[in-house]
Symmetry: C2
Subunit: 288 residues, 2 copies
């Protein structure tokens, strides 16, 4: 199966887990009507972006992998016969907390369980307060429609993550994301020009991962204002040459995009980067 339809849902938090569950379920149903076999949701899509502040009470918002919320989406994936990338605020059996993304197959089974490896900690993005850094390395989700590499948000700034996914055989890397501008200017983003530059850098680095690795990339952000953060949307899909195929603005949006996996081989025959790596010389990457 060379060509598949994929969808992403660029949504806005509805203020509670239950409200978001209903909101995104409707959107998943809508996306599946297009014939999409893979539907991707934004980072922590069931929650307000709680790491905007540091507050112990937010630990109560975490859910387990056998929670009713996860089961709900397992049933939905099975009913619609779609693969679903499902980001969750995970409470583990031993009471650790992770920023997680599950991959569900068309039968609703969890076939991959990724825990965000790179955890940010910046004004408005206090994730180290909540999340244990991922302990499962970079996992390939081997679905019936192709090999997915699910990473999460901040992972997108690290070429190592995309490279390791590629070396593991992935054809499509997806980044459920929650990124935006901080109106408190605490990240130095007071000027409009700088805001555009940050957005531009965010798109550029993920296009570069596609180019360096000869894979598709799907970035799925949220939108809307939450406290002093404005999530910048601009979710997109790009091909292995880094060409943007579809892109959203700053409003709620569902996009459907056809992915042609045969283009990966075509591109890699032109650009033989993976042939010419110097693995004998990369050891310094293992140090800071």
């Amino acid at each position: 199966m060379s060509k598949i339809k994929t969808s992403y849902i660029q949504g806005k938090s509805q203020g509670s887990i239950q409200a978001n569950l209903e909101y995104y379920s409707l959107k998943i149903e809508e996306a599946s009507k297009s014939g999409s076999k893979l539907i991707i949701l934004p980072e922590l899509f069931l929650w307000d972006y709680f790491p905007i502040t540091e507050n112990k009470k937010h630990f109560d918002l975490a859910i387990s992998l056998d929670s009713k919320e996860v089961k709900h989406f397992q049933n939905l994936a099975k009913k619609l016969k779609v693969n679903l990338v499902l980001p969750v605020f995970e409470k583990s059996v031993d009471e650790n907390f992770f920023n997680t993304a599950l991959t569900l197959n068309e039968s609703g089974e969890i076939i991959s369980h990724y825990r965000k490896m790179h955890i940010p900690y910046d004004p408005g993005f206090y994730e180290k307060f909540y999340f244990t850094p991922g302990d499962k390395s970079f996992l390939v989700a081997d679905t019936s429609i192709g090999k997915l590499g699910v990473l999460i948000c901040f992972d997108q700034w690290f070429p190592e993550a995309a490279r390791i996914m590629t070396l593991g055989g992935v054809q499509l890397i997806t980044y459920p994301t929650a990124i935006g501008w901080d109106e408190q200017e605490c990240r130095g983003l007071s000027q409009q020009a700088l805001r555009e530059d940050e957005l531009n850098a965010w798109i550029t680095i993920m296009r570069a991962h596609a180019i360096a690795n000869g894979v598709y990339v799907i970035a799925v952000n949220r939108v809307g204002k939450e406290d002093h953060l404005t999530f910048w949307g601009n979710s997109f899909v790009c091909d292995p040459l880094g060409r943007i195929l579809v892109q959203s603005g700053t409003e709620e949006d569902i996009q459907v995009c056809e992915i042609d996996f045969s283009k990966i081989e075509t591109t890699r025959k032109i650009w033989t980067f993976l042939r010419d790596r110097r693995v004998d010389s990369y050891e310094p990457i293992l140090k800071n």
Copy 2:
């Protein structure tokens, strides 16, 4: 010294080593008049791009590090008091051949001797026929004006190279380059749109190295048509946020660009990527 002026020379081959030596020497003199303390030349700037074909006789074109050509530029660097990034087709004492870039300081001394690590081999770019892959790893050139990471052309497609340079302390990565379109269409580039896409990918991936690592990047390409290759120019400088500061078209060009090294620290304080790497998990990068 936070701010320095740098120049690059986007030149066109004049058909012989001697003609190119004279042509580039004049341009170096011109660039130095702007007050530039660092001048960068394109890959193999003294030669027609001979790897366009495979021909044993081209080995006779290589020069040694104590050749009169290298001495000429050492004298020029000393006379003008500039640092010079000098790409050469190097014949080593034991008759190996390398695609090399020397860094000369203001006294004309060779302070860094980099041998291209990633060697392409594609129709029109038969470099593996000529060049032994670099055996000196990724070297930091510690100049009086800052720490340079000199890489060469094809290296630009490998995030590992830029990352290792950064971990070694470089503030500015430069890529002397010879890249263009092949009119024989053998690289699948028959359509104008695809040509633009390739150029765009080339710029994108180097901007991404700047962003991922919080460093400046200077890419210096050649122009002109040689046999069935048309070198695409478009040399540029970008800052640690990936913002393009100056950029050339497809004609011969000298650009002067002020680099403010203090922006590196500013950017890295906003974007703390280097703080948050997961060096415990990157081992798969050492394999193919």
